[in-house]
């Protein structure tokens, strides 16, 4: 029997390591430590209901387990073979317990390729990876295929880069393989700077070997013997697991010299980021790996021509790499049979925001937003109304009701005014102000701009300021025109992908939520009730009982009234702090 405990960041944050400890202690006390293994895996995906404990082989899926639940799991399930119903997942519509994850709405529509091992294996043990066909793809490539055949296979699979751009991976490999040089590099982009995205992290934490194996395959395909993983320093657990994985792979001869006795050498080193979103951009990433400021440079030359230390360099994203061993083993045709015409395979999303089932999901390309949000995601939290879904992070846009039935793929999302990006998917409800959301993303890009080119360095700041102006109720119709023009010019003139896409959150919200902009500018109102400066606090005299609680709470003395008489707010003094609203037990303070 195996007890799989989620060791993903979300679950660890809820003390899943303590669960492991307690389970082990309990098993030892009962003398079962040899029969039952406790394994800490990577993220199961269903982080909303974490910490997760899964019992194998019967596939029982326990949710929201607490460290103090360890004894009962051992006593009931392990010893007596009885499921602990209290810890089972309850289907929100049918109100029934579901014990096998296969039958949960969250998992039903998912197909797991990149995440195939996450939640199944102990990422710190190479044997478990090997037991699940690990390193067979590398063996196949090295022993049975030529480099050109490997490139061909990837080309045929139709795999496109999962880092955001969607560039065909096989084509990228082909270009790198054709550039002649004494040294080439394979780089794995594990910078994942998207705020609200944790796909790559979960792959690295849950299945590091799939990335190592795949990088070696890439090295063979393009003729490189060195691999570098650029990983953000903010991911200590992923770093630790990668270090362990690299050491184990070297020990097994799966990295290093003469792999599988084929004469092929390949080794991998880690390079650390240091907190700069722009370093996800490949030229910036390369400069950062060279010990410099992470400022992008013009392309061409592309890294495939002149990259790390001026040598041909192939940069791919973590998820892109993680999909490759499966393609090599199951074949390009199989992979190409999944997905849409121009986007093959599956895509991992980090589903978050105002949604019931926050988590990590992997769905076939072509799944609709509605399926993702309402079936997998279980709909909007607290029964609120769906308003928008943000994809593509700071480069992407906000889609709305009318896009819910769009099948998700690279091209459809762009056509809808957003983009795939790396896979962040944030759901918003009626309480979210779309102007503020745009402002939030601009705040991010202002902070993360490298400062090299003027449209991004200064222009984004101006966009932010103008949005701020609008959320304060000072905007004019002319400002909206000007905002749009600045957006287009920044997209048109910025040096790198950051600036070329940073206005997208504004443009997409202007397109899809124009009324909301008008409300801020013309009516001086924030329909979602988020923009503080546009709120008006007043007291409904009919409801007010004159308890004085609000007057005592007001920091600026804006509220007057006699005891037991209706109170009133002087709007000229009120600073809209909301204290009165919070204090009034009679709902007499109203906001409009």
């Amino acid at each position: 029997m195996h007890l799989l405990v989620c060791g993903g960041t979300g679950c660890r944050a809820s003390e899943s390591d303590l669960i492991v400890e307690n389970l082990k202690k309990e098993l030892e006390e009962k003398g079962l430590q040899n029969e039952v293994q406790v394994i800490m895996t990577g993220c199961f995906g269903f982080c909303e209901k974490g910490p997760i404990v899964k019992v194998m082989p019967d596939n029982t899926f326990y949710v929201q387990v607490k460290p103090e639940d360890a004894p009962i799991i051992v006593a009931e399930h392990v010893i007596k073979g009885r499921k602990v119903t209290r810890l089972l997942y309850t289907d929100p519509t049918k109100k029934e317990h579901v014990s096998d994850s296969k039958h949960m709405g969250f998992y039903r529509k998912q197909i797991r390729i990149a995440l195939r091992n996450c939640g199944f294996i102990n990422p710190e043990n190479i044997d478990e990876y090997i037991a699940r066909e690990g390193y067979q793809a590398l063996g196949k490539a090295l022993q049975e295929m030529t480099s050109a055949q490997v490139v061909d296979e990837i080309k045929k699979s139709g795999l496109r880069g999962r880092g955001g751009g969607g560039f065909p991976t096989g084509l990228k490999w082909e270009i790198a393989s054709k550039n002649k040089a004494d040294q080439k590099y394979v780089v794995c982009n594990a910078d994942e700077g998207d705020p609200g995205a944790f796909m790559d992290r979960s792959v690295l934490e849950g299945d590091p070997h799939s990335v190592l194996e795949s990088m070696a395959i890439c090295g063979y395909a393009i003729g490189a013997t060195k691999g570098l993983i650029y990983i953000r320093a903010e991911y200590p657990l992923a770093i630790k697991r990668l270090q362990i994985a690299i050491a184990q792979a070297r020990e097994y001869g799966l990295l290093g010299n003469d792999i599988f006795g084929t004469g092929f050498d390949f080794d991998i080193e880690l390079r650390y980021g240091a907190g700069a979103f722009v370093c996800g951009e490949e030229t910036a990433l390369i400069h950062s790996m060279e010990g410099c400021r992470g400022e992008p440079t013009n392309k061409p030359p592309f890294p495939a021509e002149s990259g790390f230390l001026g040598k041909p360099t192939n940069v791919n994203n973590v998820e892109t790499f993680a999909s490759i061993p499966v393609i090599m083993l199951k074949g390009a045709e199989w992979f190409a049979s999944i997905g849409t015409e121009k986007s093959k395979g599956t895509k991992v999303f980090a589903l978050a925001g105002k949604i019931n089932n926050v988590g990590l999901i992997e769905v076939p390309m072509g799944t609709t937003l509605r399926e993702v949000i309402f079936e997998i995601g279980g709909g909007i939290k607290n029964g609120k109304k769906f308003k928008a879904v943000q994809t593509g992070g700071p480069s992407g846009g906000c889609l709305t009701e009318k896009h819910l039935d769009v099948p998700i793929d690279f091209d459809n999302l762009i056509a809808a005014g957003s983009m795939m990006g790396s896979g962040g998917m944030i759901v918003m409800d009626e309480d979210d102000c779309m102007v503020s959301i745009a402002k939030y993303f601009l705040d991010f890009t202002v902070e993360e701009s490298c400062g090299k080119c003027s449209p991004c360095r200064i222009g984004n700041k101006r966009l932010y300021e103008l949005l701020d102006h609008i959320t304060k109720g000072n905007g004019t119709m002319a400002d909206l025109d000007s905002l749009k023009n600045m957006c287009y010019v920044i997209k048109d003139t910025a040096l790198c992908g950051l600036g070329q896409t940073s206005p997208n959150p504004i443009l997409s919200t202007m397109n899809n939520f124009w009324d909301e902009y008008l409300a801020h500018v013309v009516d001086k109102k924030c329909p979602a009730g988020q923009c503080r400066d546009l709120m008006m606090y007043s007291i409904n005299a009919e409801k007010c009982v004159g308890c004085t609680a609000c007057a005592r709470a007001c920091p600026v003395g804006a509220i007057s009234g006699e005891r037991k008489e209706p109170h009133s707010i002087n709007p000229a003094i009120c600073i809209k702090c909301g204290a009165c609203f919070e204090k009034c037990k009679f709902n007499a303070v109203v906001i409009n």
Binding site: E48, D194, G196, A233, A350, G353, C450
Partner: protein, 161 residues
């Protein structure tokens, strides 16, 4: 001219030299060297950067250019209990901003600052990968999930005394 002299304790200089040597004094490894130094000293004061520059044989202006570019590097010491509020999108839409405001109010400091007693410092970061628990607050190594503004006082109490 370079009339400013840098003073450092011998063991600190030795430590930096050792870190640089472990990377073969290779300028390409500057960021790794800085990570190691920050791990050791807790921050990267000018003196440390001077020694690193000297060891790697690169201009100190360049070292500073790198340190000031990356938000992970800091030239001011963190508080004893560094507090980071996740401002990733998931946390933001679930009200992280209000939590941050509350911390600022309670501690009387801005993001990037440390309380005068050196106990707390405040920073914001983007997505710690625990979006299921949004909004998320980190204090040192400890993660607090589903934090509401009202919880702020309670959290700070954990570190009293």
């Amino acid at each position: 001219m370079s009339s400013i002299k840098i003073e450092l304790r011998k063991e600190d200089i030795d430590k930096i030299n050792e870190v640089c040597a472990s990377f073969n004094n290779e300028p390409l490894e500057l960021i790794n060297v800085l990570h190691k130094c920050q791990e050791h000293f807790g921050y990267l004061p000018a003196e440390v950067q001077e020694v690193v520059a000297e060891q790697l044989n690169i201009p100190v202006a360049k070292v500073y250019g790198v340190v000031s570019f990356y938000s992970f590097f800091t030239m001011t010491p963190h508080g004893k209990h560094p507090i980071s509020i996740c401002m990733g999108t998931a946390c933001y839409v679930r009200g992280a901003e209000k939590v941050l405001e509350e911390f600022k109010k309670e501690l009387g400091i801005q993001v990037g600052q440390t309380t005068p007693d050196g106990k707390f410092s405040l920073s914001s970061l983007r997505c710690v990968g625990a979006c299921g628990l949004a909004p998320v607050v980190l204090v040192g190594e400890k993660t607090y999930g589903r934090v509401a503004p009202d919880d702020v006082k309670k959290i700070l109490k954990d570190y009293e005394g």
